[in-house]
Symmetry: C2
Subunit: 351 residues, 2 copies
Amino acid sequence: MDNLEYAQEGRTELGHLGEFALIDRLTDDFPRKNKSTVKGVGDDCAVLGTGKKKTVVTTDMLVEGVHFDMMYTPLKHLGYKAVAISISDVAAMNAVPKQILVSIAVSNRYSVEALEELYAGIRLCCERYDVDLVGGDTATSRTGLIINVTAIGEVDQERITYRSGAQLHDLICVSGDLGSAYAGLLILEREKVTYQANPNFKPDLDSYDYVLERFLKPEPRMDIVKWLAEKEVVPTSMIDVSDGLASELLHICKQSHCGCEVYEEHIPIDYQTSRVCSEMSQNMLPISNALNGGEDYELLFTIQQSDYEKIKDSKEVHIIGHITEEGTPAVLVTPQNTTIQLVAQGWQHNE
Amino acid sequence: MDNLEYAQEGRTELGHLGEFALIDRLTDDFPRKNKSTVKGVGDDCAVLGTGKKKTVVTTDMLVEGVHFDMMYTPLKHLGYKAVAISISDVAAMNAVPKQILVSIAVSNRYSVEALEELYAGIRLCCERYDVDLVGGDTATSRTGLIINVTAIGEVDQERITYRSGAQLHDLICVSGDLGSAYAGLLILEREKVTYQANPNFKPDLDSYDYVLERFLKPEPRMDIVKWLAEKEVVPTSMIDVSDGLASELLHICKQSHCGCEVYEEHIPIDYQTSRVCSEMSQNMLPISNALNGGEDYELLFTIQQSDYEKIKDSKEVHIIGHITEEGTPAVLVTPQNTTIQLVAQGWQHNE
C-alpha cells in the first residue's frame, strides 16, 4: 500500500537539484489558460489582471528548525518578519502591498498566548505597511510551527518591474547595506552554542543591536518604492535580496539575457557587519557575507543611465555597477582590478 | 534565551479553544485600512477589489500525518485534492477560480520523482478547472510534507454569495451526497490496520470505489456554480461542506442571524456510504456521517422560495430544509418528527 515505494528505484534526491532547478522541473509544463494571468512563476510575484491596474501575488513558507530557531526568535519578531518578507516580494515588483493571508500549522507545544504573540507581530507589520489581514488557515502540525504568508499588492501597469528588463549599460543599484542580517545570524548561533554549554550564561548582545535587528526584524523597502515614484524613476529590472547579492544578480542577468560588473568597493557594508566578520574568523570577509549571506531584504534594481541625475544624491541607494552585454559573465571587480566570476552560493539555512 | 518560557504560566492550551474561536481570538482586532478590502476573515474567501468584478482569495494548509496519511494517499491524488479543496472555497463564493499559488515544504524522504507525482496531480486539477499555477515556494521540512494552496477567483459583484445572506423562509439546498468521503476514510483506516498486522495482505477495495474516490479525489462543484448562473439563481448564502453539514449549517445560521430546520429523510446519502456504515458498526448511522463526517466539498446554499421552480428538477441539488427566524435553533427533524438540535462536532482529523 505504501506509495512511496516506487521512489526506491530511479530515485533522484532533492539535494541533487537546487531549489530553482526543482521549481523549474515541477512547474515547467503547466499551461496558461486565463488572459488575466500576465506573469506566472519566475519573478518575485505573479502579475494578474486585465486592466491598467495590476494585482501582484506572492507566497512564502517558513518552517521551524529550517527558517527560524525558536531558541532565539521571539514570536512577535517572527510574525513581523513573516509578513515583512512577503511585502518585500511585493516591493520588488514596484508594487504597493494591500492584503495578506496567513496559514499556520502548530503543534500543541504552543499555547494560545504564544500564538497571540505571533499575531501581535503580524499585526504590527500590517499596521506599519497599511496591509489588511483578510484570511488564513489554522492547522495542527506534528512538530513545530509552519507559517505561510500570501501577500497581494497593486501597481500601475507602466510601473511594474520584472527581473527581465535590464538593458546594456544600465546602472545597477542596491538599497541599504548587505550582509548584516547574516552577521546577526552568526552572532545568535554563537550565543546559542555558549548558552547550551552553560545555561547560566547571559549573553551581552547590546553591541550587536543593528545586525540582530536586521536578522530578526527586517523591514521591506517600501520607502524605496515610494521614493522611486517621487523621483519618477521606473527601474528597468528589480528583485529583492533574499538569497544574497550574487544569487540575485545572476537571476537578473539570466532573465534579462545580459552580464554585469559590480565593484567591490561600492558594495555597501555596515561597520558592525565588518566587525562581526573579523570577530568570527580571520578568513571571513565582509564581501563574502554581502554576496552570499542572504535575508537582507534590500532592493536590487537597474536604471537607465539617463536616470542617474535623479538618484545620485540618495544616501539609501548605492550604484554598485552596470549591465554588460549578452554572453558576458556576472563578475565582481576587486579594488586590485581583478575580476571574480559570481556563482550562486545562495542562502544556507541554519540546519 | 528560550522565549517559549513565558508560556509556562497562565498558559492556555490550544485544545481549549476550537479552531474557529482561535481564529476569532487571533484576528479580532486587526484594523482594515484599504478600500479594496471588501470582506476579510470569516467567509470561505476574502473579497477584494474596487470595481464591479471582484477578486476572491482563499488559502489552505495540508499537513502530513494530520490531513493526510502517506500510507494510503497516492501523491498524485494528494496534489489534485489540495487544489480541489481550495477551488471549492472559491465555488462557495459563487466565483470562478483563475489562479493558484502552491507552497510546499518537504523532508528529504521525498524524491524529485515523488514531487513530480504531486505536481502531476496539481496540474491535472488545474487543467480540469481552467486554473493557472502562477507561483509558489519550495522549502525544506524536518518531517514530512506540508502543502499550502492559495486560490484566486473572479465573480461579478451582484453574484457574490456570503454565509451571511440567508433570510427567513429561504430553502436550504445541498449538492451531491454527504458522508461518503468520511466513509472512504473509514475503509482506508480499516485496511491500514489490517495491512500493518499482515504486510502480505492485499486489500480488496473494488467494491468501495465511490467512497474512496470521494475521499481521495474530491471534485469542487464548479458544475453547480455554472448551473446556478444558467438558471439565473443567486443563492442568498453559500458555504462548502468541509467540516460536516452540522458545522456548516451553524456557520450560516450564526452569520445570517437565523435558525434552520433540515429534514433527515431529505439529506442525500449514497447507498455505498450506508453500506460502509452498517459494515463498520451496528451503531454507526449514515446520518451522523453526513452531519459530522466532513470533507464532502459539496455546496450548501439557501435560495428564495421564489426560485424554487428554477431548481426543483435538478438531480444534483436537494432541498433539505428551510431557514427559521432569529433566536430559534438549528435542528434536524427525524422521520418520527422529533427534533434534534445540531451541534458542531466538526471534522476529527485522523490522528
